[in-house]
Amino acid sequence: MRSNGGLIGAKKIPNTSAASGLWSTQDVQREVGAGNWITAADFESITTITVGVSGSASETFSSIPQTYKHLQLRWMSRSSGGAYNPIFRFNEDTGNNYSWHYIDGNGTSATSGGGGTQNSILIAGIGGTASTFAVGIMDILDYTNTNKFKTVRILQGADYNGSGAVDLWSGSWQSSTAITSIYCGFSSAQYSKYALYGIKG
């Protein structure tokens, strides 16, 4: 628990007993209740990548803290060229250790498919229409566990007022290694964003 305004050292907020210079349990409870202190969160921002004017061929989150239970990656991306299918890899593993399945709605029909023995988790296509960004959320469960293969789930979509798609995706990385890095193979235009969050268990 930390103070909201760097006040933990000097007892500035509770005026009534400031002379003692010591925080009591009651002081802390009162200040938390008043919103002056904020308790440590269970859903925390780890890092965010924002693509600059030159665009980006890929982004990598490395040295991911091993102190959470789950990870959530939230992205908002537009292709810097034509439509393409982004990919994800973990721990720089380019072997055929991935598989994925999906259900997709393209505005006309729903389809399902998948791929086994893949060198990445490949997801639905992203377009390059000006000002219009695809968005997605990937949950990576129990990413530090060394006894399980890793499974992810993804909700993503984009609408272009007459075209577009929305998808539910699952992916597997057949490795029991803790995830320490995530490669995002997105050919991204300016203003694309990738934000990684940790969820405590």
């Binding site: 997709d104 993503q156 007022n161 798609a165």
Partner: protein
């Protein structure tokens, strides 16, 4: 440490109304998440208007399942963003919906909304990607509405969260 995922506001209806508003949304978060549990007096779709924009700036693509088959549909050039094609809320069992609005304060891109909704009474669920393509502006208000003007049931709850990225 500041909180990353915070409740901004919750509304629980004590009277049946056709519109629910979140206004003066703080501009201090990165993403918004809207969580809803509710019903309608008559079967109705659920949708949004942002910043009081009631022009044809909304479109959406749906993916749905009704217990028998999966399907997909879309709406273009709409005056509000419906978040489910067939899933509706009714006066029976309450339905749920969760929408994610990413980077809602940016003034350079259109806003894309990812949603999931279910209809426990009629047995359907869906996901959608909706687009609000007004000349990019920060999103500061949300009008949650029904597709046919019917009212949300008493007891329906609407909670808006903010997610703050580093």
């Amino acid at each position: 440490m500041t909180a990353t995922y915070e409740s901004i506001s919750t509304q629980t209806l004590d009277t049946a109304v056709a519109d629910v508003f979140f206004t003066s949304i703080p501009q201090t978060y990165t993403d918004l998440v809207l969580v809803m549990v509710g019903g309608c007096t008559i079967n109705a779709g659920i949708g949004y208007r942002f910043n009081s924009d009631n022009t044809t700036n909304y479109s959406v693509t749906f993916l749905e399942g009704n217990g028998s088959a999966a399907s997909s549909n879309r709406y273009t050039n709409q005056t509000f963003m419906r978040i489910g094609f067939n899933p509706t809320w009714s006066s029976g069992l309450f339905g749920t919906a969760i929408s994610h609005i990413q980077d809602y304060t940016n003034t350079t891109t259109y806003k894309t909304v990812l949603s999931r909704i279910n209809d426990m009474t009629n047995g359907a669920l869906g996901a959608s990607a909706g687009l609000w393509r007004k000349t990019p502006e920060a999103l500061s208000s949300i009008n949650i509405m029904t597709s046919n003007g019917t009212s949300f049931l008493i007891g329906s709850t609407f909670t808006l969260y903010g997610i703050k990225a580093k």
